[in-house]
Every structure is written in C-alpha cells, then in structure tokens.
C-alpha cells in the first residue's frame, strides 16, 4: 500500500514562467526522493525540463538538491522550485 499525501508546490522566477502557475496542490507519495518529486513536477509541466541542471527544491523551506535523498512528506507541506538565485 503506497500512501499518498497532498502538498503545496510554489514556483518562482523562471520556473513560474515555464510552469505558467505560481502555486498548486499536488498529490504525491508520502515517501519520495527529491529527484522523483522533480520528475513528478516535470510530468505535469514538461517545459520545466529546460532548467533540470540549474534547479534545486526547497521542502518546508530548507534546500534539497535533486537526487536520492528520501523525503517524508506530510499533508500541507510546502515544496518550492528554486531556480538560480539573483538577489542582492
């Protein structure tokens, strides 16, 4: 039995332009690697693939690189797509 959970995904800067959305709720499995989570987002918004090599995620406001790291997601958790920073 694969548990799923609903999380909020936030898109910023170039990723918001590519996904054409700033915020959406998605249902994903409760345990997922950061790379699988990214692939989930790309399957919903194929144009996101363009930034695959210059992106990280933030989960509950902490940075997570795309890779094998296993995330435990809870209902309502905030996931953000973080293109290269350009503040300052």
């Amino acid at each position: 039995l694969l548990m799923t959970t609903e999380v909020v995904v936030l898109y910023f800067a170039k990723s918001a332009e590519l996904a054409e959305v700033r915020s959406e709720n998605i249902t994903v499995s409760h345990q997922v690697t950061s790379l699988q989570l990214w692939q989930e987002l790309v399957s919903k918004h194929p144009r996101l693939a363009a930034i695959r090599d210059q992106v990280v995620l933030a989960v509950r406001q902490e940075y997570v690189s795309l890779g094998d790291e296993l995330l435990i997601l809870h209902p309502g958790d905030e996931v953000a797509v973080i293109p290269p920073l350009s503040g300052g």
Binding site: L85, S86, G87
Partner: protein, 163 residues
C-alpha cells in the same frame, strides 16, 4: 548572552533586523537602526540597480522572493555573523522587492561593532552569503523589451556559464 567589555554602557540588546519591502530603501534609516553608543563603527553595503548588462540597456529591474524562506535565510546569515564576529552589535538587512528603477538601492546591509574591522568583514560576508543563499530573484527588463532572469555566480546551482 556573551558579555563583552567593549559593550559596556550599551543598554540595548543586540538586535537582528531583516526586512523585505516594496518601498524605497533609506540608507539613513538602515544606518540609524544599528547605531549604539558603545559602537565606534558602522559599515554599510548598498546594492544598486545598474543601467546596463552585456551592452544591453536596462530600463528597470523587478525582484521577487519566496518571502518566508528569504526571511529565514537572512536570519541564518545574522546567526552566522554572530558566531564569526561575537563583538558585532546590531545587524540590519533590508531587501527591496518589485520594480526597482535604475540607480536605486535593491539591498542595504548595515552592521555596527565596537571596532571597525569586525563590521567591515561582517558586511562583506553578509552580502556574499545573501547572494548565495537567500531565495530572491531579479529579472532585468531591457530597452529592447526583452528580459532575462539573472543568476548570481555565488549560487551553487547556477548554470556553469556564469561560474
């Protein structure tokens, strides 16, 4: 609380101010917010929007932020400063969001300390780290009406062209 002999006479507790705002930034306000009678030094850095990038004329810039995470990353920077330079007294980091016209400030950092080397070093650390870790993005809008999301070279997942 670490007591420091140099802090004698300053009754105000050490203070971190982080602010994201759509309003115009004020150098005087940020500077005044870190002055204290036991501190002989205030160092500031002001980031200003430039009029050109690779020969293209920039008309204006627009900043957006992941606001709660940006605030939390700015507070982490303040924490790091206090570990590295325990004599630092007050830290203020103001970042502007939305449209910022050319020649106006996008970021102002001010730090006070009893002696000058700590505040000078800490300001440099703050702006270097802010560019690498705080989730804020800048879009440059050019005279030619196209635009481009910028990438700080300090950001470790930025494209290799910019490294």
């Amino acid at each position: 609380e670490v007591e420091n002999a140099d802090m004698s006479g300053c009754e105000i507790a050490a203070n971190d101010i982080v602010k994201l705002t759509h309003d115009k930034l004020s150098t005087e306000e940020v500077s005044a917010s870190v002055v204290c009678p036991s501190c002989g030094a205030v160092s500031l850095f002001i980031g200003i929007t430039r009029n050109s990038f690779e020969g293209k004329k920039v008309v204006e810039l627009e900043y957006e932020a992941y606001i709660p995470m940006a605030q939390s990353e700015m507070k982490k920077i303040c924490w790091d400063v206090r570990q590295k330079w325990p004599s630092v007294k007050h830290i203020a980091i103001h970042h502007r969001l939305g449209v910022v016209p050319v020649s106006e400030a996008s970021v102002i950092i001010a730090i006070s300390s009893p002696h000058r080397s700590e505040s000078l070093e800490a300001v440099k650390y703050c702006i270097d780290t802010l560019k690498a870790t705080v989730p804020i993005w800048k879009k440059e809008i050019y005279e030619t009406e196209d635009c481009s999301w910028k990438e700080n070279k300090e950001c470790r997942w930025a494209g290799s062209r910019e490294k």
